[in-house]
Assembly symmetry: C2
Homo-oligomer: 212 residues x 2
DNA sequence: ACACTTCTTGAACGAGATGTCAAAAAGTTG
DNA sequence: CAACTTTTTGACATCTCGTTCAAGAAGTGT
């Protein structure tokens, strides 16, 4: 007996990815189904049959974004020096702000637009933030064990600081004509993490291990 | 000859203030004229006669918010210890996130929602950010002169860092059940500014002025 | 080839959005 | 009081939104 019908004419992954890019750029409310139809080539009827409604499709896209963030978060704690990689991550926010202005981070955008009303989106945003935070924390922990990061650093607190700084960069960079101006703020946040505080004009500083 | 007509039945300041609160909470697009009518008691016709259109009223409200931010920015560099006041400012973001969830900072919200498309709003947001940044910078400068902040601190870079951190707090706090969890991130950012680095488990540290 | 199932298509709907307008209302000035 | 000006009022035009639906198209399995 025939149990299968006409197959989908579009690829699920492609549609979710395309929806992700549109929602990322325009946000949830400002993205209309006409936009999705125009940019994805899928008519509203098919979208509703496949995903339910606009909000459900948005959640699919946000989930994919959060997964990508999770993946990126695990890469921070890889082998080798950690601080340059964290610095690169934060600088990439500024480069992205210049290369593709007005996009920011979809987790932060969603937090600003839909939280705390939207509980399902809230769960996804929380998950993405938590993944970034724990990724940063374990990276700092490893760097502390290897001596790259000073022993008196609270890695958990600094992981939260770096996550918050990253979200702030996404916001502030939108208002900057040249987002690279924020690079020294990144360095100001990272400098205290390194063991060797370079000496200022007051001359070389005694090492912490000196008894006197 | 009669040159004046019927006077306004509403107070301009009150309407702009009310619009500010609604736009602040809901954003530009999600606020409808029906909302404004319902919460301000002013019908769309009067609003259009008085302000032009919804966007113009939004700009009036945003301008007022930016003015308030400017005023707050000048208060940071007042007499007395600066760092506790900066800490209090950042902590107040977390308290506001708990007391009135889903509001954030209207400058950051506008940056996320309308920039870089809206150039007029962009000018206001840039102005507000710049005021906060210069307020923080001059406060850190004064604290550095008074010895409260270490001499090898780049005050301009740290002012940018603190502004960015503040905006990040507004975003991340939306996703936190208990925003106070972010307080240690604030302390992690502020600790390196103070002159006296409290000693870790490795014992007391030599003062920078020691010759040996 | 046929029966059956699922998907696509495009129009249509109700709701709600912004913005407009003519008439009535309410002041002010001589 | 009367002339004049401006504001208020509430209905209305127009548009776009998310969503639904019936009919036709396109597959699959026996």
């Amino acid at each position: 007996m025939p149990r299968t019908g006409r197959p989908r004419s579009f690829d699920d992954d492609q549609v979710v990815q395309g929806a992700l890019e549109i929602f990322w750029r325009r946000g949830f409310a400002a993205t209309s189904l006409r936009d999705l139809k125009h940019e994805l080539g899928v008519l509203p009827g098919s979208l509703y049959a496949a995903y339910g409604d606009k909000h459900a499709l948005f959640l699919r896209a946000l989930e994919r974004y959060a997964d990508a963030a999770r993946e990126q978060a695990t890469e921070i704690a890889a082998e080798g020096p950690v601080l340059p990689r964290v610095r690169e991550l934060l600088l990439s926010v500024l480069e992205a702000a210049q290369a593709t202005p007005g996009r920011g981070c979809m987790l932060g955008n969603t937090a600003a637009e839909l939280l705390p009303e939207d509980h399902v989106a809230g769960r996804l945003v929380r998950g993405g933030f938590a993944a970034l935070e724990t990724g940063l924390e374990s990276a700092l922990d490893a760097a502390q064990r290897s001596g790259e990061v000073g022993p008196d650093i609270d890695c958990a607190a600094h992981a939260r600081l770096l996550l918050t700084l990253m979200q702030g960069l996404h916001v502030v960079a939108r208002a900057e004509a040249d987002p690279r101006r924020l690079a020294d703020a990144i360095d100001a946040a990272l400098a205290p993490l390194a063991v060797q505080h370079e000496s200022g004009p007051s001359g070389p500083r005694a090492t912490p291990s000196a008894l006197i």
